[in-house]
């Protein structure tokens, strides 16, 4: 098929539709141009977002020197690491409990619950969490990070769950049956056979959860106590004030992390096939 598409440029092609290629290419350019410009100007020497005054890492340095940015980055990382770790463990267990098994009572309800954060608009979840956590904060006086960690963990569960479940469903049972035939205990069989086979899925799930937690704005904005800004909520606050290329630098750094993670996930998933 590929050759027929390539060679039929001049001839009549059943694949071509007028204007479609043009719109498609425009679409790709449109998707990337704003991001490219944003990243480009983070390297601008001057403070203008319109005038290019030469290459410099000035704004990265200035962001690095900014205490508020440092604190926000640290907090983002602490929360994202915890949330991705917890949600991946929870999601792995849930995936083991819901795949490769006979349909059981309550399975649909479990699916619905796990996928709930994907279906309910984020603002609704955020407001509901605000109501509950604000009441608890008032009652107990505890204002710590745990609220953010548990909120992020719950929100990340479906994102971690989906790749793990997909991997499990594709996995061949025969190796595990062979292990059991060779008198491996169920635990040993899980440790030495299932887990290693499942690892790429778990890794992809954990990275996805990490990215989702790192990028989350809405839930964090509503759940955080005073002084608990993560990088995205810090950015949201700054956008309403004066915007300097420092923001471009922060955004570009965050963007780099996401792109790196997503590329890795893509590679992991591709190896499988």
């Amino acid at each position: 098929m590929s050759s027929s598409i390539a060679s039929s440029k001049k001839l009549f092609s059943i694949y071509k539709l007028p204007g479609f290629n043009f719109i498609a290419i425009t679409c790709f350019v449109m998707l990337y141009a704003p991001i490219m410009i944003l990243v480009g100007y983070s390297f601008n020497e001057g403070s203008s977002l319109a005038l290019w005054e030469g290459f410099s890492l000035r704004w990265y340095y200035s962001a690095w020197q900014n205490e508020a940015v440092k604190d926000a980055t640290l907090l983002s990382l602490i929360i994202a690491l915890q949330a991705s770790l917890y949600s991946t463990v929870l999601a792995t267990m849930a995936a083991l409990g819901t795949t490769r098994t006979r349909a059981f009572r309550g399975q649909t309800a479990i699916y619905a619950m796990i996928n709930q954060p994907l279906m309910v608009p984020e603002i609704v979840t955020a407001v509901a969490l605000l109501i509950v956590f604000a009441t608890i904060k008032q009652a107990t006086g505890y204002q710590g990070l745990s609220y953010l960690v548990i909120a992020h963990t719950a929100f990340c569960v479906p994102f971690a769950y989906l790749p793990i479940r997909a991997r499990l469903e594709d996995m061949d049972r025969s190796l595990e049956i062979a292990a059991a035939d060779l008198y491996a205990t169920p635990w040993r069989c899980f440790r030495r056979v299932t887990l290693p086979l499942l690892l790429p899925g778990i890794l992809a799930g954990a990275m996805l959860a990490f990215v989702i937690s790192l990028d989350d704005v809405v839930i964090t904005e509503f759940v955080k106590s005073a002084g608990q800004d993560t990088l995205p909520t810090f950015m949201l606050g700054q956008i309403r004030r004066v915007i300097t290329p420092e923001m471009n630098a922060i955004a570009s750094a965050l963007l780099a992390v996401s792109v790196l993670m997503v590329s890795l996930i893509f590679l992991i998933n591709r190896k499988k096939t």
Partner: protein, 311 residues
């Protein structure tokens, strides 16, 4: 399952029971966390929507329907008469209007793009898909910020146009409905392209070829063959764009400013300066209800044979 016969031995039944117990046990930690920080809070919010609003935010634990009444009605301060809340209605209308416009724009741009990817040689399709997936997984706030830098008064577009002497004064694009729509289209476009592609990948081009053999024009092939076959993808993509647009919060807040509120921003206001928690809760549940109704319609549609074309 072949072994679902009614005559199961006692041993097998016990084994099944044990397996189910094991499954539930494995799922329970995740379910507990989700109950604490996802499903449970929704129920608490439903409860709060029926309470009286406190003077300084929060609630007073007394039953009241004011929260729900306030979704569409306001009590006049002077003569206590209930009137239609025009401000809220206009926010609802703007949310629905902008979401519909965003969905349509995404479809117009996304359809040719998905078609383009689906007609690439098999080996390079993954690459094009990857290009769509990357923006999809990157930070929504950053992508909105990128649009902000483009369309600001002293942003790139305006500066370019002024430098080229096409315009004298910068065009005010920020803080308009147009800005929100551009932003949402940019942010949610991948959500349209991915399901469209999933449908198109399965498109049987022999049917297209047959149509051409029968002297159909390109437009006719598109209208009578391709679009009907892709319809499930069109519906899925539209739903996937419409729903998050309706609940959008970050994009309208950054690009729409304080005046052009969408539902998400109206909800936020009730927990900030406005301080009417029951109203905020009622508005959230209304939004959730609209979203669930849309999803339900979609499920009904796909069960009623909306996907009959898929092999």
């Amino acid at each position: 399952m072949p072994d679902d016969s009614p005559s199961l031995s006692k041993y097998e039944l016990a084994a099944r029971k044990q397996q189910t117990r094991r499954n539930l046990l494995l799922c329970s930690p995740a379910l507990i966390v989700l109950l604490l920080a996802a499903s449970g809070p929704l129920l608490v919010m439903l409860f709060y929507s029926f309470l009286k609003s406190g003077n300084y935010g929060g609630v007073v634990y007394e039953f009241s329907l004011d929260g729900w009444l306030n979704v569409f009605l306001v009590r006049d301060i002077f003569d206590d008469v209930l009137k239609v809340a025009d401000a809220h209605l206009s926010v609802f209308w703007r949310s629905i209007k902008l979401s519909a416009m965003t969905t349509f724009t995404c479809l117009v741009i996304g359809f040719p793009t998905a078609y383009f990817i689906a007609t690439r040689p098999r080996e390079s399709r993954n690459f094009w898909l990857f290009l769509i997936t990357i923006p999809f997984w990157t930070n929504l706030l950053i992508r909105t910020f990128a649009i902000l830098e483009l369309i600001r008064n002293n942003g790139i577009v305006n500066n370019l146009l002024t430098d080229l002497h096409i315009i004298e004064q910068p065009i005010q694009m920020m803080y308009t409905d147009f800005a929100i729509m551009i932003g949402m289209t940019y942010v949610y476009l991948p959500l349209m392209i991915l399901p469209l592609y999933a449908s198109m990948e399965k498109l049987d081009f022999r049917l297209v070829e047959a149509a051409y053999d029968l002297y159909a024009t390109r437009i006719r092939v598109l209208r009578r063959v391709i679009i009907p076959l892709i319809k499930p993808g069109i519906v899925a993509g539209s739903i996937l764009v419409f729903i998050p647009s309706l609940g959008a919060f970050v994009t309208p807040r950054v690009l729409g400013g304080g005046k052009n509120l969408m539902l998400g921003n109206l909800i936020e206001l009730q927990f900030g300066q406005g301080r009417n928690w029951p109203l905020g809760a009622a508005l959230s549940i209304t939004l959730l209800f609209i979203v669930m109704a849309t999803l339900l319609l979609y499920v009904r549609y796909s069960q009623k044979g909306g996907v009959q074309h898929e092999q």
